[in-house]
Symmetry: C2
Subunit: 352 residues, 2 copies
């Protein structure tokens, strides 16, 4: 399995797999400055809500290592400024601000003005976020694999795999766990326009592990369901509101409507860090709109007439009533989500 994010201890350096070049080329971007991490998040070299959370955390460590200040307050102000810059790279996934807030809290709790000590604490916290995400995904896999029949066909959208996380993956983690449990699981992967994360990344991960995968264009999902070729849908998430509304890669909402129309269960797999209890509903989730060239160009080639107007939202919101269950690292959350997400927050692991 390809490593998405790796911290090089001796070098004060973060290496990020450049996912924009996959599957053609495996190369890493070396980041010794937090601004390089911010740029890598913005251009989607690193992507996926949990992965950008962990990458941003390490980015803040790089920032902290370079801050120079006379007083503790001044130092923390510089770290906070870097955190704001990292947080502003992408607005939709809450894991980004969640991870940065967690590091800043650790720093402010430390009660020391020593930059070297603070930087080490931040690194410890970034490592913890990374480790917890990887182990959380294994738990998501274990909890979720029960939803996959002994011989089952799963449709997934975008890439919610090892490449989108610290490892193993959320939606693909569930599929991996089903396979490890001896199930005969096959996957249909939506190519996921405009940036083809499904075609480029999901198929790559599954091919590497010999899990049968068939690539389709996004607009084939409806016909696939009508022909009864798929038993369930599993996707990841970029932010989940307290009522269970789910922001995820554009196209997820359409899939959820189609799944409902065909009586196919629709599961969302995400770590609990993706849940944003501060938001009442998905209407409050900011939806990033990206550059029109993502739609009009591929590999530098113009696909459409020059100057055509484009609408390019990177995410959409799936209302909770279309979601069968949310599979988290703390357990499976079922409707009513408003109540059960809060219960899970308080009590941890359960199936509710």
């Amino acid at each position: 399995m390809l490593e998405t994010i790796r911290w090089l201890p001796g070098e004060e350096c973060l290496e990020l797999l450049d996912q924009t070049r996959l599957p053609a080329e495996i190369s890493y971007i070396k980041c010794s400055d937090y601004r390089q991490v911010a740029a890598a998040i913005k251009c989607l070299a690193v992507r996926g809500a949990p992965a950008i959370g962990a990458a941003a955390a390490y980015g803040l460590v790089l920032a902290a290592g370079k801050c120079r200040a006379n007083a503790e307050e001044e130092y923390l102000a510089q770290v906070e400024a870097a955190a704001r810059e990292l947080a502003a790279t992408r607005p939709t996934a809450v894991n980004l601000s969640w991870a940065l807030t967690r590091l800043l809290q650790r720093a402010s709790d430390a009660g020391t003005g020593d930059p070297a000590v603070l930087r080490d604490l931040l690194l410890e916290e970034a490592h913890a976020i990374f480790r917890e995400d990887a182990s959380g995904n294994r738990k998501i896999g274990e909890y979720g694999q029960g939803f996959i029949p002994q011989k089952g066909s799963v449709l997934t959208h975008c890439n919610a795999g090892a490449l989108a996380t610290a490892g193993y993956g959320t939606a693909l983690g569930v599929i991996r766990a089903a396979r490890n449990a001896g199930k005969d699981v096959s996957v249909y992967a939506d190519e996921t326009r405009p940036l083809l994360q499904g075609a480029r990344l999901t198929t790559l991960e599954l091919l590497q592990e010999n899990i049968p995968v068939t690539l389709i264009t996004d607009n084939m999902a409806g016909f696939l369901m009508a022909k009864k070729m798929v038993d369930l849908v599993i996707v990841g998430a970029d932010r989940i509101a307290s009522n269970g509304d789910v922001a995820n890669k554009i196209g997820t909402y359409g899939l959820a409507v189609l799944a409902k129309a065909h009586n196919i269960p629709f599961y969302v797999a995400a770590p609990f860090s993706t849940v944003d209890l501060s938001l009442h509903s998905g209407d409050e989730i900011p939806i990033e709109e990206r550059d029109h060239t993502e739609v009009t160009h591929h590999g530098g080639r113009l696909l459409a007439p020059a100057g055509v107007k484009v609408w390019n939202p990177a995410f959409d919101v799936t209302p909770h009533h279309l979601v069968t269950a949310i599979i988290t690292d703390r357990g499976i959350v079922r409707p009513p989500f408003g109540e059960n997400l809060k219960k899970t927050t308080r009590q941890g692991l359960q199936d509710c």
Copy 2:
């Protein structure tokens, strides 16, 4: 407006706009042999149900012009063999076999064995098909434009425009007619993977006529509807069964499900030659599956890992209960389609 198909009278030659090169390049393929026409249909240089019907008709004229036989029977057998070859190029659109059958009928009705006379009759019939399609589209436009509000936003899929027909278009004909009627109509165009007919062709047609158009990827249609950015959907058709089930470009079915879920009317615009009363339902419509490289490659570039399995149906079937009305050159057909399509066949123009 670009000419899709043109017969060069003095040269015994058919010119077909090479739509695979649009929008980058405007070039025509000169066909002096029916096999060149068959190849152009197969590779989608000419595409769209009505356009391939007309192109195949002219293709048969080219074949007839070259047949050499001693007896009428032998001559007709050669023409029929060419017709079978042309009909086999693409299985889903019924207009192809409809046009060829019409020419063969004309030949067998003629009661002459004179090749020159027969070839002229066939050319006359091909011209008639071409002319009727172009004028039929104007009628479709007139009948259909009443469905577009004074200020309206239409979502369309693939290209059902002048480029898909002998001119003016079916779905885009309705939009053109609304504009000509002084309506403030704007269009969202699905890019339509894998071959991007929406991104390449529909946007081009609309930009040329200054009809406001916004390009989206296919998976954005659901979110577009959820945000109430679209008033109605209009698509073309490749074959309509007697119960009103509609085969059209892959992705149409998903759009129809989404439209229903959002209470948005879903219209199909097609000449009556697209109706196949011999089929009881859409289940009987053969669905073409095309080469996997259409999905995995673009402009010679590999988009996905080499060797990945692909499912690539070129069409899907939308069941009649998702269709609000079918706009034909003989009038508007409403549910119950089974009854009303038959009534329209018998009585011609009406709104039923």
